[in-house]
């Protein structure tokens, strides 16, 4: 190989690899899109598997309560302290309850609940479905005349979309309670006035917009878990990879869609 050829090869290769990764990215987006449509179609049309759905309600909703609640109470408390000190710089300490309430209901409640679910649920879904793929259980299910999209994917999507808003409502309540605790015990706010300020200030849209976000995040969390698990390949390592990808991609998609939804809601109202 002459020096010229070598130089050309170096010059061409980055473009080639750029092209290759672009194509791969486009292909992945397409595959996820098709998977999402198939999953949603299975979730919205019969036959359903009520037993599987109940199981997922428990796994995704009920058993996520402790972790979501703990996250919310500490975040609410820390937020109260931070806003109190920050607000103090321009003598605005007294609006702290309102800002805590707004921050929790519109942003932190849904996002933190979704992130905890990305860690807890998306990973578990990817690992379970990935292991089923690796041990041919998904193939076996198909040969038993049962659609894995209906039996495995649809219940998880439905459960996450319905449960995450409920978990967010809990997170909102507990988060505001965390702020209230710090305000009344540490910062000497009046308990009744704190609650009255919060209630008078909050509009129903503050809460509802957060719950809508949560439903979207729930779909993302379950979708990423199912997609990466379903397409896992390469044995135990493949399952590990699927789990990592599920958590990372759901977290990123949660943040990105959070920004998009917030923009949309701001323009809409």
């Amino acid at each position: 190989m002459t020096a010229g050829e070598a130089a050309r090869k170096v010059a061409v290769n980055p473009i080639r690899s750029l092209g290759r990764s672009t194509l791969a990215a486009v292909r992945t987006v397409g595959a996820v899109g098709v998977f999402a449509v198939r999953g949603a179609a299975a979730a919205l049309s019969p036959p359903w598997f009520p037993g599987q759905l109940m199981r997922q309600f428990m796994a995704i909703g009920f058993f996520s309560l402790p972790v979501v609640g703990l996250t919310a109470v500490f975040t609410g408390a820390a937020l109260a302290l931070n806003i109190f000190t920050g607000g103090g710089r321009f003598n605005a300490e007294q609006v702290m309850p309102q800002i805590v309430a707004l921050g929790i209901t519109r942003e932190l409640g849904p996002v933190l609940a979704a992130l905890m679910l990305a860690g807890r649920v998306s990973a578990a879904i990817a690992a379970e479905i990935g292991a089923m793929r690796a041990t041919e259980q998904i193939d076996a299910m198909r040969t038993l005349s049962t659609d894995p999209f209906r039996y495995l994917v649809a219940p998880r999507l439905l459960a996450a979309v319905l449960m995450l808003p409920l978990l967010t409502a809990v997170a909102d309540t507990i988060g505001i309670a965390g702020g209230w605790l710090v305000a009344t015990r540490v910062l000497e706010f009046n308990p009744t006035i704190y609650i009255r300020n919060t209630v008078n200030f909050l509009e129903s849209w503050d809460i509802v917009s957060g719950l809508i976000k949560a439903a979207v995040f729930g779909f993302i969390v379950a979708l990423m878990g199912c997609y990466h698990g379903y397409n896992a390949s390469g044995g135990a390592r493949g399952v590990g990879r699927a789990t990592t990808h599920a958590v990372v991609s759901s977290a990123i998609l949660i943040f990105a869609s959070d920004y998009l939804l917030t923009t949309f809601f701001t323009h809409a109202s």
């Binding site: 598997f49 041990t135 076996a140 040969t143 005349s145 049962t146 039996y151």
Partner: protein, 255 residues
Amino acid sequence: MTQIPKLAWKGVTKRFGDRPVLDGLDLSVAPGKSLVIIGGSGQGKSVTIKTALGLMRPESGQIELDGQNVVGLSEGQRRKLFSRIGVLFQGAALFDSLSIWENVAFRLLNADGVPRKQARERAIEALEQVRLDPAVADRFPSELSGGMQKRAGLARAVVAQPEILFFDEPTTGLDPITAAAINQLISDQVRRLGSTAVSITHDLASAQTIGDEIAMLHGGKIVWRGPAADLQTTDNPYVRQFVEGRPDGPIAHTV
């Protein structure tokens, strides 16, 4: 007029990337017969079964069930077709979140809408057919030994009395005594149901117990086919090398 085969592969090709796995495979099984496909690892045995099951799509060629092409069927048609098919997977592929009886009755419960009580009775009947104690019905797959899992997998495959049974490496990973018992059970069940059976294995004892006929797959093609009894006497060089387990011969060992 010649009889229409129960299942036939006609010029089936399948490649993984640049590597051809099935290279114009022609193979057929007559109704009620048991065909065993033998061959080394990586010669396309699993792919052969997976194309027939629609778990993999061949690039070209036809796969015919009762004379009807089944390549490219829709999911719905495929699901209907599967009600006539039973499969025993290599690792049994039992659902580990379900009890043994729910595994055996999976098709009855989830596809056929059989009431739970009745499905359970049929599952226990199937478990008895494969000589599993009904007491295991409420246990979970992880609590069973490999041989018992295979039995449960066999019960799941035969519970709906399929027309065609597929066995993917039924004895791999079992000790010789358990393997012999599984072979005997498979051959009993196939005879009892009068089903057509297609098995893949590299276990010769298993091939001769289960099979009426044996076909040897090498390089994505059938290189020999004959009655099970001829396996020991044929002078086909591929079969001889495989049966005698010699490293030298027409089959280049790639390990």
